[in-house]
Each structure stands twice: as C-alpha cells, then as structure tokens.
Amino acid sequence: MGVVQGDQMVLNIGPQHPSTHGVLRLKVWTDGEIVSEIKPYIGYLHRCFEKHSENVTYEQVIPFTDRCDYIASMNNNFGYVVTMEELMEIKVPERVEYIRVIMAELNRIASHLLALGVYGLDVGAFTPFLYMFRDRERILDIFELTCGARLLYNYMWVGGVSHDLPKDFERICIGFLDYFEPKIKEYNDLLTHNKIFLERTADVGVLPPDVAINFGVSGPNLRGSGVNWDVRKDEPYSIYDRFEFEIPLGEGEFGTVGDSFDRYWVRMCEMKESIKIIRQAIKDLPDGDVFQTIPKKIRPPKGSIYRRTESPRGDLGYYIISDGSPIPYRVKMRSPAFTALSSLGEIAQGWMLSDVIAILGSLDIVLGEIDR
C-alpha cells in the first residue's frame, strides 16, 4: 500500500498582511493545509540604525534606540544607558534609579497589553483588543504627563533622566494601579478561560526548553517553556535586586509545557508582577536632584562592553565599542525578537496554516527591532 504524495504548494504570506505584526514575509510550503516548511524573510524595515550610530554622538543615539523596538522604548533606552554607565563607570543618584525602574515597568505593562490584545485579534477576538487599548491609553497619559511624548520618549539619558517626575505623580500612578489590577480578572474572563481561545492555543507550537536555549530564545518565550531565566534576577542591573517579585513560568496548565498558551499566560502573570514592583518603588521613592550626574560631554574610555537587560521581549543586548571620541565606533543591538523569529521555522512544522498565525502571535515579535 503506497503513500499518496501530492505536490507541495508554495504560499506567500506578507509583507503586507494584517496578522504579521509588521512587514514580514513568510514563504510557506504546504501539503494541503499542513505546513511542511516555513522560511521567514526579513529586512523590509532595515533602517540602518547601526550605520547612524557610527555618525552621531552618544547622546544622539538614544532617539534611534527608541525607534527600534517602538512598543517598549523606555526599556530600549534603559538598556543603552545601563551599558554606557557601566563603560564609563558613572553612578547615578538613587532617585534616578527608582524613576527608571518605575518607567521601565510601566512600559512593560503597556507592551504586554499591546502584545496580548493583538494576539487576541490574530486568533479572532476583537473585544479584548479594544479593552486592552483603553487601559494602555491611561499608561500613555502618565508618560505624556512626565516627558511629553506618547510613544517614543527619549527619556533616559546617560547619567540621569530628561525630566523629573511631575508634582502629583504618586497619586496618579497609584490611582492607575488601583484601577488596573481588577481589570486583569476581566481579561481572564474574556480571553484566557475562553474555550475557543484554549482550543486554538493549548498544545499548539510546543517549544522544548533545550531547543529554546539553542535557538537563543529568551524572555517570556523561554519562561513559557519552563526555564527559569530572567536577567533582572540572574544578572541584576540598576536596583532590581531590592525588589521582591516572582518569575512566572509556564506549567502546561491546559496543555503541554511550552505551548502558545503558556507564553501567553507568562505575559499575563508578568503584568501582575510589574504592578508589585511599581508599588514597592513608589513607596521607597527618595528625593534628590536628577540632573546632577549627567555629563556635559560624553567621552567614554577606550574599550568595549556587552551588557544585556530584560526588555518585554527577552534579552536585549548592546555591544558598544568606544575609541575615546564623542562618536561611537560601533554600536550593535542584539534584539530578542530576532532570535525568537529564527526559531519559527523549527516549531511551526507540521501544524496547519491557521496554527502558524497563532504561533507567530505568541512569539510577540516587533519588526523594528529585528531589522533595526
């Protein structure tokens, strides 16, 4: 009894497509509805970030880092200034450290809200998208109050921040957190425990932990596979070692460990942990001057450094080489979504076409960061 082998169809998804999270092209070889091979093609948003950073001064690189991962720009800034401060051995005042942590964690909540809302949209649920954007707008209001911008802030500078917190920041921020915490239960009722959502995401696109480490996957994608690795706890930077928070791991509650639902669930739990960190930071916020350690001219000593920080997508690394002048010699950004997308070809084999979209949504990629 022979096996009937049909011809394979080559299907092209993108670069303009409503569910590809940006300009991404996927070339899919399918046998009917089952996918046998996927090749991602990127580079449609290559904006020459690294070439620009070799021609402008160190301060002027910061707005360019904003625009790479445009959904979590505070975390991008944070990674760059932490790396620069380690290279130049600057110690920033305590107030600056607390402000930076508050802003980074608020941006983590905003980024996860967008990721989860758009994931629901990919799978077919329109309402959670509108609810999550409603709450995300309130976070953007807080950012606008502080530094004037809604999306791309240029807020964290080497040695400090660009604006001090406004006068009643604590009241507004705590007000937002008190409003937001019960909303997580609302999202769980709408989406997480929804039978259709579970059918589409549980057991789909399982990423085993050793494959994940070999592919350089990090962040919520790695934690969804059960590996306990978070740069904030394992290679702490800034003042993260003073806060108490837990690291949620994927446990395979509704399916196998490491499926798309686990990656979604880790992001949902991380929002709760970020709320805890912000409450602790606001309680201990000291007074002080935020501008005193900003150097007038940045001239780091000769040398190179590689430092990674935790962005909402994973390990964001900056490799900076300085030759003693005010203009960097080489700045390389190691983006977490780049490695997550390179693993798509491995985990999406054997699934149906609509499952591929669910897997891609659970990896939470941002093309601006991948193409730089």
Binding site: N214, G317, K332
Partner: protein, 165 residues
Amino acid sequence: MTPTEIKETLDREFPGSVIDNEELAESQIELKPDQWLEIATYLKNDPGLNFDQLECVTGIDTGEDGPLQSRYNFHSMEHRHKIEVVISLDRNNPKVASIEQVWRVGDWFERETYDMFGIIYEGHRDLRRILCPEDWEGWPLRKDYEAQETYHGIVVPKIKEEEWE
C-alpha cells in the same frame, strides 16, 4: 570558571590557537581561525565549560587596512560564566568556519554579519543576505562603504555637503 582558567583550558586542549593580545580585556580571548569549529564544539560539549547559549555575534571593521573581526559572546546557563571570543580575519579574504550547526541561533547571526561586512562563513548551509535586498551591492557597515547610486531606478540620494552650509 574565570576567564583566565578558560583560556588555560583552551590552550591546553588546542595548543597554538590562543593568541596573546594586550589590547583586549580580561574576558576576551583571541583565537586563530584554523580550528574554530573544533574549539566551538568543545566549548559547547565539555561538561566543565558547557557554553550552551550563544548570546551575540558581532562583526567589526578595525579601520583601513586593518583586519575584520568576528566576535562571539558565550554564556553558560549551568555554570553562569561568560567568555568572549575574538577572531581576526584578513580584509581581502575574510573566511571563517561557520558554527551554525553547533548553536542554531548562529544561522541568522552569521547571515547578518555576512550581509553587513562580507565575512564568509564556510559550511553555512544557506549564506545569503538577510537585511538588505538580495541584489544590493557592497558591504554597508564597513568603514569605506559608499552607497550605490540607484536601486531599480530609485535614486539613493547622497548628501551634497555644499548645500547644507
């Protein structure tokens, strides 16, 4: 293990491949490109080193007439130690062994360094441009790069220095 101990281990196992370079920091090792694939496999599989995470592959152009460099950052999840490997390549014929079969993440990292610098990774199964279009000319991140005049009829404008005074 500290970087010095790792350097000594590599010198013992692969004599002659570690190059002493004063300009590098303590956590950086310079290696010769000859036995790179064997050393990489050893770095991953040896239980004492166990570097299972390749964090980053960076390409560097050290200036005119200088070599091109390919730098690799490694990290071990079990032992929590790090090392950085630097390999210098001749500018006119930059070839080094590819490690994409050892760490699968190296696949896209090496394609990106090839796209930006022109470093050829021998043994890579699918080495082609990843960020720039397939028919782009030149290696953009080299220090002596001049952008091409037109691409498919679209002008790639150059800045005329006199106009911006």
